[in-house]
Amino acid sequence: MRRWMYAFRARLRALVRRKHEDSNLNDELAFHLAMQARANQAGGMGRFEAERQARLQLGGLEQTKERTRDVRPLRATETFLQDIRYAVRLLRRSPGFAAVALLTLALGIGANTAIFSIVNGVILRPLPYPNPDRLMFLTTQFRPIFMQFWVSPPEYMEFQELNRSFASVGAFATGESNLTAGDAPRRVRTAFVDEHLLKALGISAARGRLFAPGETDTTARPGAPGPPPTAAVAILSHELWQTAFGARPIVGERVEIDGRRREVIGIMPPGADVMDNRTEVWLPLGLNRANRQNRGNHYLYLVGRLNDDVTQQAAEAELNDLMRQWSGRVGNNLHTFGMAGDGSQGHLLQMEPLQEEILGGARQSIWVLQAAVGLVLLIACANLANLLLARAETRQREFAVRTAIGAGRGRLLQQFVIEGVVLSVAGGALGVALARVGVQWIVRAFPNSLPRTTEIGIDPFVLIFTLAVASMCGVLFGLAPFMQTKVKSLAAALKDGGAKGGTDATRHHLRRGLVVAEVALAVMLVAGAGLLVRTVYNLTRVDAGFDRSRLVTFELTLPQARYPQAPGRAQVYQSILDKLRVLPEVQGATAMSGLPPSRPVNANSTTLEGYTPKPGDTAIVDYYQTVGSAYFETMGIPIVLGRSFQPIDSATPGAVAIVNETLVNTFWKGQNPIGRRLRPCCSDQTPWLTVIGVAKDVKQGGVDQKTGSELYFFLDETAAAAAPIGFAPQTMNVVVRTALPLTALSPVIDRVVRETDPTVPIVRLRDMDGVFAESIRRPRLLAQLIGGFAALALLLAAIGTYGLLSYMVAERRREIGIRLALGSDRASVLTQVMTQGLVLTVAGLLIGLAGSFGVTRLLSSLLFGVEPTDPATMAAVMATIVAVAMVACWLPAWRASRLDPIVALRDE
């Protein structure tokens, strides 16, 4: 075992006293050379020849040293660190190069990190529930109009009882509530849930308790007017508890929600939510389990947790079987599930993994973003490869010398790659800092454009991704110069004057190819961005059916507890509208129950005189809209036939209604609708309304969607009428037509509402342009981000082109100088250099356009009003690319043409 002591000592010495060992090795070999030289001299050689032969016999002093050092332990680590130190030193010696390279990388890697943190937080990360892959989201379908619709309470309860696949199925509805915390009322996001839902999700309270069995059901007998009363309890979200109540112990205290005092029974854990609702207050759902009436009253969403041994396919198969037997098993023939004969009015129950549902259409947008930043990074890498290639050429002499003193080809390769990785990892670190800022900006600028925004952040997984991407880039552009470098003999490299390698024509192929690829990639990005920008432009130009300029809107909610009767609510709305109308800067004011252009569908079965639905079917009107006086005038919605509501309508007996063009075209095509009668949902006691006018179609459910059928009620009239038509919504959207900007109007509105009722909060006060911008937030997010990335790509490609041309010009200084000296025209020099650059651009443009046709097709579902191959957009893309290329090429070309032949020639 003594051997290990010697070995250990030797290894320790080699590791710890590396410098010392190096100098020992020098001495050892110097001694050897001296001895050998003496021996050679003794053999009759001259002194110099003796020493030279000694070195030759040793096989080169430096090579031998390197080979001897190679047997040391941890030699690989040692050379690795040495190469890193060398790479860092090299970068510090050329700060200009380092700055450009680091900035390029930081932008490229930063953009990728930022977008990947979105991919990670939104798509990849499982939902924050136990075993989230077991959770299914259940909705109904009314083909062919509503592919995703709510479930009615009887349907829910029946499914709960019939199914065998789910461990638990719960129901919820979402809404908003007025919460009084301190003296200011605030609007909070509410989830109305039953205890089964909380069980299915697997949430447990952080403090206090959750709803007890039966606690979420209604406390009233069925048939009582108004929303069903529930136990006076509430659960707060962790976030609301922090912000509104300063995290003080509050469980057991009472808070006022929608005018009703409720006991806080528990606090949710941080981040607890359902369906990305950003729930702040959890309230009992208030189902009546004994009542199986009102099968058509759809307002619930269901979440179910599959049994551990049941697959989604098995659960779907069971569901399909259930739907076939449904009528028989529940003893009800009306409004149950099943396909209608002609497939037009199938009413189905369907399921989808909860995570899929939350992602919705965002998945594609996010992957498009990731692909775009991937392209940007490729361009950045190509740029850096080009930079490093240029540098490698000026370093030929260094490489030759290093080879001469013992560096093998493998060692050179290692050094190239390490230089690349050092650059890219430093760039990546900067990139992470950029990404942090970028992600925060994206989440702040587009708060509702993406689901699960609270879960977006830079976590260890994202950092691993960044490190991997950075290292891959480093290897990629580190390898490029190595492929180019054919280490010549020391003599040749040194003779060459050292600074530069040869200038054979083929040498530039790689670099030209890189620039062409950059341009091609940039073209694809710019084409995609162009199409998305066109999409947003088209969306903003859609005729929404009303005049949205100079229109300010806000939302008012009058709680049931405080205003139990419809006339009382109508009075508050009217008094606020009257006060607003008399303001000098206000041209008009009115109110409506659902704010276009993106209000949820509230489809209702409606009976229309003169329209007979197919057997077993009902006529469905997509939107019921309750409006205040002077509605059509204030909104600027043209009445195409008949007249609008007049104050007199509320005083005359018999109710009136206005319909939109789509309703007429759907149910009364070719007939005169004026004077026809219709009976709104949902009972046979509802009185008939007489149609007095037809309004132009208004985009209610999205500017990019088809207009639905719409039925207008007159608030002044319905509020005063007797049940069942007597009705005034609890929430109304007030609109004010005014020349004043929002900021100037805001205090006035505040005062008016406060005067009327200080406990009512003003919610979502904004101008109509803001409402429209919000309604197309996802296309806008895409267009703006992709636009930004495309601009970055363009900039990088331009820098790449510029860099290559400048380099080629610098290399040909002498030649250009001679040509100028011999009387060549400066203009022809300029043209020649520019042509060189533009040829590359055109090649890249053609390849890029060909690629665009393939790539933009993937975008087609995200586009609106523009084809993926839109010629106008493509022309604009080409013009942009050529214009940018002209600038990038012109600068080096101009410098070449201004060259002073004398200076150029003397230089060499």
Binding site: R2, R3, W4, M5, Y6, A7, F8, R9, A10, R11, A14, N24, L25, D27, E28, L29, F31, H32, A34, M35, Q36, R38, A39, Q57, L58, G59, G60, Q63, T64, R67, T68, D70, V71, R72, P73
Partner: protein, 111 residues
């Protein structure tokens, strides 16, 4: 002059151990001694000598010590460690077995 044949893999270690076993030596002397003893038949190229010596040292078979050598200069003298001596015996035994086995094969007469 024909070049001495390349040393078989592994035999260099054995030879170096043997030469050093004779007496503590510095690198140049080891190389000279090897040439002498083998009657110029075996020659280690100077470029391979030092990596091999350092490997043996790191393995703990030999140890080194700096002394004043010829020319009055500092030289690194290698000595066998006790473990190295055992190793030498072992390897010598191995070598004998191997070479006699080869010799037996070569003695077989052709028919």
């Amino acid at each position: 002059m024909s070049k001495p044949p390349d040393l078989m893999q592994g035999t260099l270690d054995l030879l170096l151990l043997k030469i050093i076993a004779l007496e503590p030596q510095h690198g140049w002397a080891i190389s000279q001694r090897l040439g002498q003893v083998s009657g110029r038949e075996l020659q280690v190229s100077d470029g391979s000598l030092y990596p091999a010596l350092h490997k043996l040292e790191l393995a703990g078979w030999i140890t080194a010590e700096w002394k004043t050598g010829e020319l009055g200069r500092r030289a690194k003298f290698y000595t066998l460690t006790p473990a190295g001596r055992d190793r030498l015996e072992q390897e010598t035994e191995e070598w004998r077995r191997l070479s006699s086995a080869i010799a037996r094969v070569l003695r077989v007469k052709e028919v």
